[in-house]
Amino acid sequence: MDSRTNIGRVRGLGSAKHGGEHWLKQRLTAIGNVLLVTWFVLSLFMIPSFDHGALARWLAQPLVAVPMILMIANIFSHVKLGLQVLIEDYVHDDGLKFAAMTLLNFYVIASAVFGIFVVAKLAFTGAPA
């Protein structure tokens, strides 16, 4: 008798030994994206004007900066999982695949860190004139 849970049984399976992890993460970040991007669009509609001062005051609020940081992190996680599948399916040469996968990781991590830094700096130090 196997007394493990359902999730315990599938973890570590598959040729990559990651089981359903990639698949599940892609779905979880997708649901997160729906929620966070819905917030983003609604929040954009409630900004009184789109001049720089109004946008900077909007973005510096904790209740905007925090979901914005979450949105950047969640979207780029989803980007990493999604573009990884594109590379696996369409890049057949081993060397090119390795290079593409490396570039994808650089792109995703650099972009997410840049975006999060921009928002955090504005929230902590206020907008420059």
Binding site: H52, L59, L83, F114, G115, V118, V119, L122
Partner: protein
């Protein structure tokens, strides 16, 4: 294992009649790629322009939104380029959202009956098309002074 380039290939894309179910699959990937690159790079430029101050935001606006009557040739070309980008990203957003929601339904094991599957694939395309048209008309009339 050595690959033999002369081995027979199974029938591929070109021999099948295109159906909405096939189209939505490749559109999901293509729109995801557009959002991941053009969409996210424009979003990050916008955020960093806000963080950079009034002057950097004015630069962003002059290249992406509108350079005004005194804009340089490069800025005006860039404005038109970003209008195309905005249209592509808007359509990609709604298309990826609609087919992504469809995937979540399929993931719970529902909607695989031939007719149902075909119908909802078509619905996703139609919904994305009308949502994009609505946003484009809204932006054109409210912000660009067209219409």
């Amino acid at each position: 294992m050595a690959k033999n380039p002369n081995r027979p290939l199974s029938p591929h894309l070109q021999v099948y009649r295109w159906s909405p179910q096939m189209a939505i699959s490749i559109f999901h990937r293509a729109t995801g790629f557009i959002l991941a690159t053009a969409g996210m790079m424009t979003l990050l430029w916008w955020l960093s322009a806000i963080g950079g101050g009034t002057e950097s935001y004015a630069t962003f606006e002059s290249y992406v939104v509108s350079a005004g009557p005194e804009g340089s040739g490069l800025q005006i070309a860039s404005n038109w380029f970003f209008r195309l980008v905005a249209l592509a990203v808007t359509f990609s957003f709604f298309q990826h959202l609609a087919s992504g929601l469809r995937h979540l339904v399929l993931d719970i094991g529902a909607g695989y009956e031939l007719k149902t599957n075909r119908t909802w694939a078509s619905v996703a395309f139609v919904a994305a098309f009308f949502a994009t048209a609505f946003v484009a008309l809204f932006v054109a009339s409210r912000f660009l002074g067209v219409l």
